[in-house]
């Protein structure tokens, strides 16, 4: 495993035994005398909660895990956290894992918040000295103030989770697994939680985030894994996996069968995108756009049956999966009338103010509520060039205005 990799899962499956009423063993007598205790659990039977998960997360990368209830998300987290052992496959972690599964789970009601914080920190793998050093920060961040020396049974539930969160994120773990508890407490504290998560991302912590809050996943995660019934359905940019999940939910609600031909493209193909391409001002297909110059994305479609409920959308993401921009006709207020036969839609950018680098285009046509007709991920790509290698994604026109003669402008032609 290379140094940049924080976490790798290869072919991971988890099978839970289906327990008879009495537990894993039929009886104490059987377990001890017949030796059931010493035999490996039968590999067949039981409930396959997770199957064939391959995942590699780099340092500083955040991966969302989404899917309906019972899809194996929490099992995946517990496998990564080392709470459970995989039935097959391997889980490799580069460094220390911290799990945010249930905040304050280890708190003892009778002893003080301070002592609980120390014990909790040590359970998360910090040394006593480490915890003591971070304790002022923990108390400050949690905002429990003077109550820190009171038994935690006197804490309000908000103080309880705030202290639990503060302890868990006080250290900079190499891998953080989070189960639905990212933003706890009141609005102000929830913002501080998210701010802390962003700080950890910058620090290089790899985060595995299970959440039903799809907007949060899109916001925080670079990539997302969509699980259904224990199997990975899609793994790609957070935006595309979330869109795929939304589409599935919408189609299930509509009772329609999905065409799941590939992980990169799906939809019921009532409308098909025949061509998605980046074109320049003259309408010519191009693979390169200069920063600040106009460009357009052309979608050519065929509607196999007339549609009155449709939205065209595009999204742009960077090579590393960062979602850069996305819009659709519905967001921009266009009202669908009728779509039939073939045609094309173009979205024009008078000035494409993207930082230099390679970008991917997702294009889609779907119903307003999310049911996908045709959703194509990373269907084409283009390169943005610029005279200067600005970092980031956004590179607007700009100029520097020093107030005095402290600096001279660049020489012409440089």
């Amino acid at each position: 495993m290379s140094d940049a990799t924080a976490l790798r899962l290869s072919g991971v499956s988890k099978r839970y035994p289906m327990r008879p009423q009495k537990g894993r063993f039929h009886s104490l007598k059987g377990a001890l005398l017949r030796g059931e205790l010493w035999r490996r659990e039968r590999e067949k039977g039981g409930f396959l909660a997770l199957e064939g998960v391959n995942l590699e997360i780099e340092k500083g990368e955040t991966v969302g895990v989404i899917g309906p209830n019972g899809s194996g998300k929490s099992t995946l987290l517990k496998l990564v956290a080392g709470i459970l052992k995989p039935t097959t496959g391997t889980v490799e972690v580069n460094g220390r894992v911290t799990a945010l599964i249930e905040l304050g789970a280890g708190f003892h009601p009778e002893i003080s918040g301070r002592e609980n914080a120390v014990i909790n920190g040590m359970m998360l793998g910090l040394s006593r000295a480490d915890v003591m050093r971070r304790l002022p920060w923990i108390i400050e961040f949690s905002g429990v103030g003077q109550f820190i020396d009171q038994p935690v049974k006197t804490f309000s539930s908000g103080m309880y989770v705030r202290l639990g969160f503060a302890v868990a994120v006080a250290a900079e773990p190499e891998v953080l697994v989070v189960d639905e508890v990212l933003a706890v407490g009141d609005q102000a504290f929830a913002h501080r939680c998210l701010d802390r998560i962003a700080a950890l991302q910058r620090h290089g912590t790899a985060i595995l985030l299970v959440s039903h809050d799809l907007a949060l996943v899109e916001h925080l995660a670079n990539r997302a894994l969509y699980l259904r019934a224990g199997s990975p359905v899609a793994y790609g940019t957070a935006a595309s996996s979330v869109a795929r999940y939304r589409s599935d939910v919408a189609s299930q609600e509509a009772g329609q069968q999905l065409d799941t031909t590939s992980g990169r493209r799906w939809g019921n193909r009532a409308v098909v995108l025949d061509v998605v391409e980046v074109v320049d001002v003259t309408g010519r297909v191009t693979g390169t756009v200069r920063n600040g110059e106009p460009a357009a994305i052309r979608l050519a479609y065929t509607a196999h049956e007339e549609q009155t409920d449709f939205v065209f959308g595009v999204a742009i993401s960077r090579e590393d999966g960062t979602h850069v921009y996305g819009t659709n006709t519905d967001l921009d207020g266009w009202r669908p009338q009728s779509l039939a036969g073939t045609g094309e839609v173009r979205i024009e950018f008078p000035a494409l103010e993207l930082a230099p680098g390679r970008y991917f285009v997702d294009a889609a046509v779907h119903a307003k509520e999310g049911l996908a007709y045709d959703y194509a991920c990373e269907v084409c790509s283009f390169l943005v060039t610029a005279p200067v290698g600005w970092p980031g994604s956004y590179a607007p026109r700009h100029r520097w205005l020093p107030s005095g003669p402290a600096m001279l402008p660049p020489l012409e032609g440089e």
């Binding site: 839970y16 537990g23 894993r24 063993f25 104490l28 377990a31 205790l37 010493w38 659990e41 517990k78 956290a81 080392g82 709470i83 459970l84 052992k85 894992v97 799990a99 599964i101 249930e102 789970a105 280890g106 003892h108 009778e110 002893i111 002592e115 120390v118 014990i119 909790n120 040590m122 359970m123 998360l124 040394s127 006593r128 038994p151």
Partner: protein, 268 residues
């Protein structure tokens, strides 16, 4: 996980085990008036009751050269340590289930905390025995046993045996909830099968005495009482028997615990 791995984990988690033992002791007596004295009060109360019963009600014919209450106390101390730790072992993993499931806490930490916190209670009670013996010696009822210097050594097999049994019970109790009730009955029987309130020589020769002597806990308790109270250095055979029991208990406990270790978090 093989036995060395278990010890490696325990060593790595020694800081955590330390604070957990502290928490255990603190939390147990938080809000109580007598605090740590409760850990003395329990054995003292038992001592009082047994002393009255076996000196006044049914006078025991225990042929020893020490006052009977002290004899009883020196037997009760190691017994209460072991039985207390084993009772706690039956519930310790269930009680700490949230920590196993929600925090990645290595499970062997909890049996270790159980043994150590009972050991602390035990060590707090030893001075009471010493004070009692000093008082009796001063009154001329007995000679103060200098062999008490060997007590740490005599406790080693006892400690290892109890640790093994605690590991065994804690892991099994996760899978078999009836262990707790079973344990109550077994320990009750064992209490009377172990020469705590009597000496083995008092038991009629035959099946009963053989049963007492075959009881694996017998040499462990005798070892303790010989050096702590009676002032005799136990025979090499007793040491050997005690060490053998310790090794068997430890091996069994570590084996079963390691075998079931991976299943604990998902079963608890």
């Amino acid at each position: 996980m093989r036995p060395p791995a278990l010890l490696v984990t325990l060593h790595r988690q020694r800081g955590l085990i330390g604070v957990l033992v502290g928490r255990e002791l603190k939390a147990r007596y938080r809000g109580t008036l007598f605090g740590y004295f409760w850990s003395l009060l329990n054995p003292l109360l038992l001592l009082g009751v047994y002393s009255i019963v076996f000196t006044l009600v049914i006078p025991a014919r225990v042929p020893t050269h020490v006052p009977y209450p002290l004899f009883l106390f020196a037997g009760l101390l190691p017994w209460l340590f072991a039985s207390g730790a084993m009772f706690d072992a039956a519930i310790v993993l269930l009680d700490n289930g949230p920590l196993l499931k929600k925090v990645m806490c290595p499970p062997e930490v909890f049996p270790a905390v159980t043994v150590l916190s009972h050991l602390v209670h035990h060590l707090l009670a030893v001075p009471v025995l010493v004070a009692g013996m000093a008082a009796a010696a001063f009154a001329g009822a007995m000679r103060f046993p200098v062999t008490i210097a060997l007590l740490p050594l005599a406790m080693v097999p006892w400690l290892i045996a109890v640790s093994g049994l605690v590991l065994l019970i804690s892991a099994l109790a996760v899978h078999f909830r009836d262990i707790k009730d079973l344990l109550h009955n077994i320990l009750n029987l064992l209490f009377f099968l172990t020469p705590i309130i009597y000496v083995p020589e008092l038991v009629p020769a035959g099946f009963l005495r053989r049963a007492v002597l075959a009881n694996p806990l017998t040499p462990l308790v005798e070892l303790y009482r010989d050096v702590a109270l009676l002032g005799t250095v136990p025979k090499l055979a007793t040491w050997g028997w005690a060490v053998l029991v310790a090794v068997v208990c430890w091996t069994l406990g570590v084996g079963v615990f390691s075998r079931l270790r991976e299943t604990l978090a998902e079963t608890v």
